[in-house]
Symmetry: C2
């Protein structure tokens, strides 16, 4: 029955959005309807901006952070410590680390995480370019800041194994309870990591 | 700091997506990055489909369901009972009701819900056209199938008040526990409605 009444173009757009990571059929529908419900001027503007995004924004040739230039401002900067590289999954992770103001080294965006389920293998990620950079820049420390998820952990340990025989410090971002968290609601993994990484006062 | 490193076009697209209902900054970022991360062919295809969606799909002139024709297939059908109208918030609600195969009347999409917070007033919804249709089609029953949320309730009771003096049956979709629900986890409102609407066996 539904096949007959949902317009084909609407079905097609919902299908295409559903392929995006994190989107299911319901959220895809919601996005499609939101765009249809917008005043026409705004929806056209949004699509124009998507187009502009694809034309102007691309990964930095060095570190892979999304930028409108060939080499991003961090890689070009004279003020950054080129002997430390912070490895992240996506550009927005780097933007988040940058927002803390606590890191003055370079980044390396690998563009995802290893995931057997999604068939993402090391070749699909920018890992070989990381090794090249580590060698070329005479890096002293690599901070593995992939997400603390099962896939993020696997990715970090894969990279660790590639680097462990080099004369560099390899570290993993700290684990523990997030600020403002309630112990009772924390999951077991987080809580056990928080205990493991207790700090002497 | 972040202002300097996030590309302007990326900031702009995240801002525009954040304006969509249900999207916050994080989910907007995720969508923007997903589109950037797609193979170029697929992302261009997605944008082309969005464009096609805006060109081809529009509300049915009669009932407001999204369709590629001037009048949707339900309004044109000879097999539907034109004396019953099911009032829904959005097209996808009608598609969901249609999927049950239990309803053979017509629909009326009001295009949202009353919401003082979002400044959505009766004039922003297709309510006056509903009243016109009720009169024109000699409707005998109106089923108010807006969502069982605070706003959906307010919208249903607003429409009820406009129709209550006419010689028609006005009903509200049934309330109760969703299929497969666990009593312990049900919220108080749902549970009290489920008790109120108990069925004699």
């Amino acid at each position: 029955m539904i096949e007959n009444i949902v317009p084909n173009t609407l079905k097609k757009v919902v299908e295409e959005i559903s392929n995006l990571p994190g989107y299911g059929e319901k959220s895809a529908q919601r996005l499609a309807v939101s765009i249809l419900n917008m005043p026409r001027g705004e929806s056209l503007e949004l699509i124009k901006t998507f187009m502009e995004l694809l034309e102007k924004v691309h990964p930095c040739r060095e570190c892979g952070i999304y930028t409108e230039e060939e080499i991003c401002s961090i890689c070009r900067s004279e003020d950054r410590d080129k002997s430390i590289i912070c490895v992240v999954e996506e550009s927005f992770d780097a933007f988040a680390v940058e927002r803390t103001g606590k890191f003055r080294g370079l980044y390396h965006v690998i563009g995802g995480r290893l995931s057997p389920l999604e068939e993402i293998t090391p070749e699909d990620l920018n890992i070989s370019t990381l090794i090249e950079r580590v060698n070329k820049l005479h890096v002293k420390e690599v901070i593995l800041a992939t997400n603390p998820t099962v896939e993020g952990e696997a990715t970090a340990s894969y990279i660790y194994n590639l680097l462990k025989n080099k004369d560099i410090t390899i570290s993993r971002i700290g684990y523990g309870l997030p600020f403002g968290a309630v112990l009772e609601n924390a999951d077991d993994f987080t809580l056990s990591k928080a205990l493991e990484h207790k700090t002497k006062l």
